[in-house]
């Protein structure tokens, strides 16, 4: 079943901001096998001008995961999650994410296309801080493999 193109432009704001914790950044950095001191040690991060430990460039995926699930599991969209594969991913960082940030996310359906018979969905997430200043924009392209 093709995805409904009327979803393009639909925005899903999320109420509660995501609170970035120092232990979550350390856990994520350890999970990617990265011992860069600026992910783990406040003093090292502050010596480089950061207010607290800094997050790895792909950490935003943990910030947006729940936001994306709201769309992916929206029954009105009718996505078969078991057939979804990640096609591509892009992060644009307006500033680094730090421990202590309170991040609000708005997720937008940027495009719904059909490529080689597969539904292709592009989601954009705008991440802003407590002062409404832009922090990160993410673009995720998800491919729904044709069944059968």
């Amino acid at each position: 079943m093709a995805l409904d193109p009327s979803f393009v432009g639909r925005a899903y704001p999320l109420g509660e901001p995501y609170a970035v914790g120092i232990e979550k950044i350390r856990e994520f950095a350890t999970a990617i096998g990265d011992d860069n001191p600026m992910y783990h040690d406040r003093a090292a991060a502050r010596a480089a001008g950061h207010p607290d430990v800094v997050a790895p460039p792909t950490f935003a995926v943990a910030v947006i995961a729940a936001a994306q699930d709201v769309v992916l599991f929206d029954p009105a969209l009718g996505l078969d999650f078991s057939r979804v594969v990640h096609g591509d991913q892009r992060f644009v960082h307006h500033r680094p994410i730090h421990a202590g940030d309170e991040l609000s996310r708005t997720i937008v359906v940027d495009a719904v296309r059909v490529l080689a018979g597969n539904d292709v969905l592009t989601l954009r997430t705008e991440v802003v801080d407590a002062d409404e200043c832009p922090v990160c924009t993410t673009y995720s392209t998800l491919v729904v493999r044709r069944s059968g």
Binding site: E27, I32, P56, H86
Partner: protein, 141 residues
């Protein structure tokens, strides 16, 4: 030591990076990222959907692509962009060796006005590239 923009030339290579991905690390990454898709930890489910075995999260491979850049800049906050296509799966066998990911990167372009460098990254598993058009943008002092 963060490289200086003036010292860079298109084609310069970054220090290479080899990463070993184990089953245990996939479980750890699932927890840290919140991506619990069973194809990354359950061989039965992976085979049911046509994969040879459990595969690494694309985002974990992408994180390793980011790491070759942040190892070079020292300061991860200098990375203002990171993008890739996921072109081939990284199959992680259930043994002590796991999967070996070989990362290389070169300076692909320099923007004098913005003082940014585009870094072009290659990630190989079992001799084949697994990421397409993997690129970072770094803003240098």
């Amino acid at each position: 030591m963060t490289p200086a923009f003036e010292d860079l030339t298109v084609g310069d290579a970054l220090p290479p990076l080899t990463v070993h991905l184990s089953r245990a690390q996939l479980v750890r990454y699932a927890g840290a990222s919140g991506d619990f898709n069973p194809i990354h930890w359950n061989p039965r489910v992976a085979r049911e959907v046509g994969l040879p075995d459990v595969i690494a999260h694309g985002m974990l491979t992408m994180a390793c692509a980011g790491r070759i850049v942040t190892d070079w800049t020292g300061n991860p906050g200098l990375v203002s962009g990171l993008e890739t296509r996921f072109t081939r799966p990284v199959v992680v066998a259930d043994d002590d060796a796991g999967a070996e990911l070989e990362l290389t990167a070169v300076v692909g372009a320099l923007d004098q006005a913005a003082r940014t460098a585009r870094i072009d990254i290659t990630a190989k598993f079992a001799g084949q590239t697994v990421l397409g058009k993997a690129r970072a943008v770094v803003t240098l002092p």
